[in-house]
């Protein structure tokens, strides 16, 4: 490809990607190309891809570090003669700290390691949550891994393994967290080191932990096993603060009560009333009136199963598996549950079948039977709307 007369790579098409209002990866790669030949060849190859409307990365690659079966994603250019600096351009995934808290020293350490061993370009963070180190050659993988390990970092998950568990920032910054997401994320990461580094499953398995139903890590849409904080008792109401919001101009009836999905709230101009039995814990009222309302005191989490993004088949959202686990029992409950789920998935899952797809194929009743859980009404999205489920009152009559 001909470069422009100023010696920089020709990037007519890529330049258009810098024009919009959003931050652009093109700008970042151009900045990196000041000191990195890899970034320059990356720009050239990418411009070519836009010209030809064709990707120039080969599919797959089987590279890694000794002792681990994951953490490195092989990338090779299919035009290695033209773009020698990106002939190998492997990605390394590094396990991020729960909640993405770093000291600036830690960030500098990672960047320094990567400037010595790779392109210097990173992606903080990838959609898995991991630190993504972009672009290195096969011979640099082991030295990078060793140096990362000496500085307290480990590789993340890739392939058919437990992926690096991920959580929202939780109690570190958010008063709504109903359990300590960062601690649970760390404990689960430690508990499943073998399954994280040495792929043994039919396909990937993701854990995500969200402290409240706002679900800031979108666990309900992306995790095979989602743990979402919730509470069992009543929403805590501070009447004086509700009155303050009203005095400050918040239209409680219109902005809170009318937008409640189950219309379980009332406002008489002075006092907010909530019928907590009808509350579906959507967080709307708490989000609108954060000083006045907060989750109840009896806190824990709901455990859900089976979400995935659309790769092999269509996207799935999680389904409720356990409606409520007290916060202090979460780790033990998860360990027992996950053991049973993996046993069932190992036995019946086909190659590259996510656990959510397996449940779709065999049916939720067979899956529940397989893992030894009783069906409960909370597993159904809207139990009272479903004509095929009959609830009985305690003395036997239809409800």
């Amino acid at each position: 490809m001909d470069d422009a007369s100023n010696g920089k790579p020709k990037t007519e098409l890529l330049d258009q990607l810098e024009e919009g209002p959003w931050p652009s990866f093109v700008k970042e790669i151009k900045a990196a190309s000041q000191g990195s030949e890899k970034a320059t060849d990356l720009l050239r190859q990418l411009e070519r891809s836009y010209e030809e409307r064709k990707g120039h990365w080969k599919h797959g690659g089987m590279v890694g570090v000794l002792g681990y079966g994951g953490g490195v994603i092989g990338r090779y250019s299919d035009l290695p003669e033209e773009f020698p600096q990106v002939a190998h351009f492997h990605t390394m995934r590094v396990n991020h700290p729960a909640g993405w808290f770093y000291t600036s020293d830690a960030l500098r350490t990672i960047c320094d390691i990567w400037e010595r061993h790779g392109s210097g370009m990173t992606n903080m963070h990838g959609s898995t949550g991991d630190i993504i180190l972009l672009g290195t050659t096969t011979d640099q993988l082991e030295p990078t891994f060793q140096e990362l390990a000496q500085n307290g970092f480990d590789l993340g998950g890739s392939g058919s393994a437990v992926r690096t568990p991920n959580c929202c920032v939780g109690m570190a910054r958010c008063e709504w967290a109903c359990f300590d997401t960062m601690k649970l994320c760390y404990d689960v990461t430690q508990a499943y080191q073998d399954e994280l580094h040495r792929p043994a499953f039919a396909y990937k398995f993701k854990f995500k932990f969200a402290g409240c139903p706002n679900d800031c890590v979108a666990s309900i849409a992306r995790a095979d096993l989602s743990v979402i904080g919730t509470w069992k008792d009543d929403i805590q109401v501070d009447d004086a603060e509700v009155a303050n919001y009203a005095a400050a101009g918040v239209d409680i009836q219109k902005e809170v009560c009318d937008l409640c999905p189950t219309k379980t709230m009332g406002w008489d101009g002075k006092k907010l009333s909530i019928d907590n039995r009808e509350c579906v814990h959507c967080m709307h009222c708490i989000n609108v009136l954060p000083k006045a309302l907060r989750p109840g005191k009896e806190r824990g989490a709901v455990v859900l199963i089976g979400a995935k993004a659309p790769i092999m088949q269509g996207a799935l959202l999680s389904s409720v598996l356990i409606p409520f686990v007290p916060a202090e029992e979460l780790l033990d409950t998860l360990k027992e549950l996950v053991k049973r789920i993996w046993d069932f998935w190992d036995e019946y899952g086909t190659n590259r079948e996510r656990v959510g797809e397996l449940i779709q194929r065999v049916g939720m009743p067979a899956f529940l039977d397989g893992i030894g859980l009783e069906p409960v009404p909370e597993m159904v999205a809207a139990p009272r709307d479903n004509p095929y489920i009959f609830f009985e009152t305690k003395n036997g009559g239809a409800k």
Binding site: G60, G61, M62, V63, G64, V65, L66, G67, Y68, G69, G70, I73, G74, Y76, H88, T138, S158, G159, S160, D194, R198, P199, A200, F201, A202, Y203, I311, D346, N351, R352
Partner: protein
């Protein structure tokens, strides 16, 4: 196509070092490739895994799933990593002369 050379013997390999001519495979070939996988000596344990993978591949045309490999050879997964430090797919399949296993990362 890259070439892997071992004591004068030349093998065509792909960019990850997997043998490109499956019909050339023999135990001696496996011994040559062991050097690329940080394996000093091929023990009975190594051969048990290699032969299982090789036979499975000849019968079914693909590499066995990890779970099946463990079940049939009696090795736990971390024991397989002790035998083949880069793992069953990159290490053991390479020595068994299989083409690169496909998978999604």
């Amino acid at each position: 196509m890259p070439v892997f050379e071992c004591e004068g013997r030349m093998y065509e390999v792909d960019e990850d070092g997997f043998l490109q001519e499956p019909e050339r495979w023999s135990q001696d070939v496996a011994k040559d490739f062991a050097q690329t996988e940080a394996i000093a000596d091929l023990t009975d344990g190594h051969w048990k895994v290699i032969n299982y993978i090789r036979n499975y591949y000849l019968q079914f045309g693909i590499a066995p799933m990890v779970r099946k490999l463990c079940k049939e050879t009696g090795y736990k997964l971390n024991e397989i990593y002790q035998l083949f430090p880069s793992g069953p797919a990159k290490g053991a399949c390479k020595l068994a002369g299989l083409p690169k296993p496909t998978g999604c990362v």
